[in-house]
Amino acid sequence: MKRNIKIKAGIIVAVILICIYGIVGVPKSKDELIANWRKNIRLGLDLRGGTQLVMEVQLQDAFKAFADTTIERLKDELKKDNIDYSDMTRNEPATLQDADKIEVDIKGVPLAKSSALRSAISESYGEWNLLAVNSTDYKLTMKPTEALKLKHDTMTQTMGTIERKINGLGLAESSVQPTGRSDAEADLLIQLPGVDDSAHVKQVLQTQAVLEWDEVKDGPFQSKEEALSKHGGIMPLNTKLVPSLPRGGQQAWYLVGRSPIVRGTDIRDAHASQGEVGRWETNFVLSQDAAKRFARYTEANIGNRAAIVVDGQVISAPTIQSRISDSGRITGAATQEEAADLGLNLRAGSLPASMVILEERTVGPSLGADSIKEGFRAGTAGLIAVIGFMLFYYRRSGINATLALVLNAVILIAALSYFDATLTLPGIAGVILTIGMAVDSNVLIFERIREELRTGKAVVAAVDAGFSKAFLTIIDTHVTTVVSCAFLFIFGTGPVKGFAVTLVIGLIANLFTAVFVSKTIFDFELSGKQQVTALSI
């Protein structure tokens, strides 16, 4: 009996030590203690202040771009193979859900070339299935496995680019991750601690940074209509109309070549610098391959104009002065920030798809500090009320319950630290609620013991019976709460998940403290005496 208690006490002391180590480590000074506490208890954005964004990656953009590349390559290849066609276009999936319904229509292929087309597609366009619509028209649809792969690649690439953008902005401890919800595969959760004015960050993140150097065919025009009327109402072949970045309320339109000379993916490095007359500009360096193409083009087009287009807007349209090979600059930035942002975005690489903000939550640091203060006050009030009642109502056994309760809270906080969980405001509410629920188990046991005493059992027997009879009830009550927390965890988001986790950990710890620890304390109290005739409960 006595040895048994020693083993149990040993287990309890070990658990306490492990918990304290998890919360504050082995501090050598008060400062270190506070530092360790801060390090181990990670506060959520709603407590420390910061911005949380949920962005939806418009996957259909990536599918359209992939279809465009396929069309471009296929046109070249069919020309080479002498396969005629009258038209080759893709459809326009409008929403995320339709992304993988991308199709390429190939029309007017002579019957004689049918097998040649088939073999061309199956040889080098394995991502697509070729379907015959009628004797001369065909349709390319994407294979489901390839569509999945493209989705996955797009998400990975997007996360990588966003990470580079965030790092470029110097935002420490930020994170980008999928929201993890099965029906929202295109959603990304971006957490930016310390950012309480998100306008700038959002602008940088949403810039797709697709950079092109285009050949200027004509312009600038005051309006779209003016450009069209000059060309007799029809767009010349292989051109497109691109607006300029609006500055001072003015916008101009340029007629530029359809395929760019250089694309953003060809950029190796980009930085802002102050040019002559103190104007800000962004310098960039091209990759080797692109540099060769660029040099060839600029050499042949000295005196012509080229448009620098970022995300479909002309930033500037300089006249080519000389042969440019691997480096160039983009002028026209209004402020240092604008030039620096462009450099950052070009450096980070272009996003394979545009992004839409679904949700944005910003908590200022002062609001977060208030929440911590209020949470702490509510917790203290709850704890005092509960402990006060237990001591008043159960006397010495109340001390037993209080010890169990305090240990419950310590284990809960240590578990949060060991699991690297984040403490959110609802999480604090979970901790406070756990205090109230934790004593429930003690009450169930104590009331049962009283009842057993009333039937005339001896103290030791009554305590044993009280614990064993209340045990199953306690399991039942805990399981039901855990079940509802599980659904909360599955369906909930962010802070609410934190609440569910906290409550579940608290309840599991409660089984240990209210049953095991509490019983051991009773055993210890009762074992010292020869014959126990009284129990303060």
């Binding site: 949700e359 500090a369 009030a381 406070i432 429930d440 709460t481 509802s484």
Partner: protein
Amino acid sequence: MPVSKRLNAGATIGYMELFGHTDYDFLGKKWPFIILSLILTAAGLVSLGLRGGPRYGIDFRGGALVTVTFAQRPPVDKVRAALSGKLPQVEVQEQYGKPNDIIGTDVQEGAARQTIIDSLAAAFGQPANGKYNVNSGGVDALAEHLRDPLQAASVPTTDQSLHDLAKNIIDYRTSHSGLIRNLDELSSVAGVTPQVLNVLKQATYPESFAVIGTEVVGPKIGAELQRKAILAVLYALGGMLVYIAFRFEWIYGAAAVIAVFHDTIITLGLFSLFNKEISLTVVAALLTLVGYSMNDTIVTFDRIRENLKILRREAMEPLVNRSVNQTLSRTVLTSGLTLLTALALFLFGGQVLNGFSFALVCGIIVGTYSSVFVASPILIFWHNFLEGRKGPAGIAPVAPKPSATKPGTTPAGSTPGSARRGTAKVK
């Protein structure tokens, strides 16, 4: 009151009791309570119906919510007036005990924040005169705006010292509820010499309000969350049903789930009556209640099952009544203690958790009540229903599992007499 009892085994127990040996005839008087439940449920449903469903917060319906703190809070209707016409569907809510207003709008874009800032600045703001507002932006923005003025005033600065200065000022602002009221306050901040303070006064001004929190939720997320919240509550109820049916009998599960569903509807009704918004955290509270309200019910059911084993001769209704009385003190104590912490949250937990703790407080009270007056009567109704159907032979349909008694078989304890007593009460 403390009671000392001398018991036959020789043990002295001195304890305080809320309820001694109670013998209230809860179930005999069940009808008034059941009618009360029905009235409360109906009132909740009617209120929900009149208002066109629960009043969802922006988590669910999409929209923007901006928390603004004022140096001197203007009257709320002036704030409303300043914003009306600028944004559709503006709601302004004063935060109790703090100089904060929460401004809500249905506009689901981040731009709403800027519109609110501009409108408030026009109505209540200080003249900017081209200066930078120290009550906006973070450390880097402040540092950038101080760099040139400090250099112009030939205050020796490095990148590091500039950053430290800006950080100290922002930290001061954070510890003062996010608002610097007067630049002279800053003279106590490390690094702010009289010379620096002069530069601050020339280059910056303290706006009389600051945005300290923003939430913008798009329509897609809102609709999705709404669907998920309802699913989560239904699944949780289903989970309870299965678990209790597995641990007891299916009718116990059904009774418990009906009771909890009743709690949820009444709590939702109270939200509607008090015109409170349902936010994500409120749903979290409702789900917690689904689990927690179960606890009292389980404690009572456990006792009913135990008594069914011991008191085989007792009729169903007195047995349930006895079980409810036996577990009364622990039902009230456990709920009361959890209610204490929920109350602490409600009173001290602040605005953000207000709806959450309100739901808990209502739910715990209603949940305790329903375990006595809703869940237990259902067991008796079912029992009587089965008896009525099976004829006067009488059965104890909710016998405990361990005794391997199934509904429909006849345990020894149930006599025709008990059946009469059971049915006589139900009119």
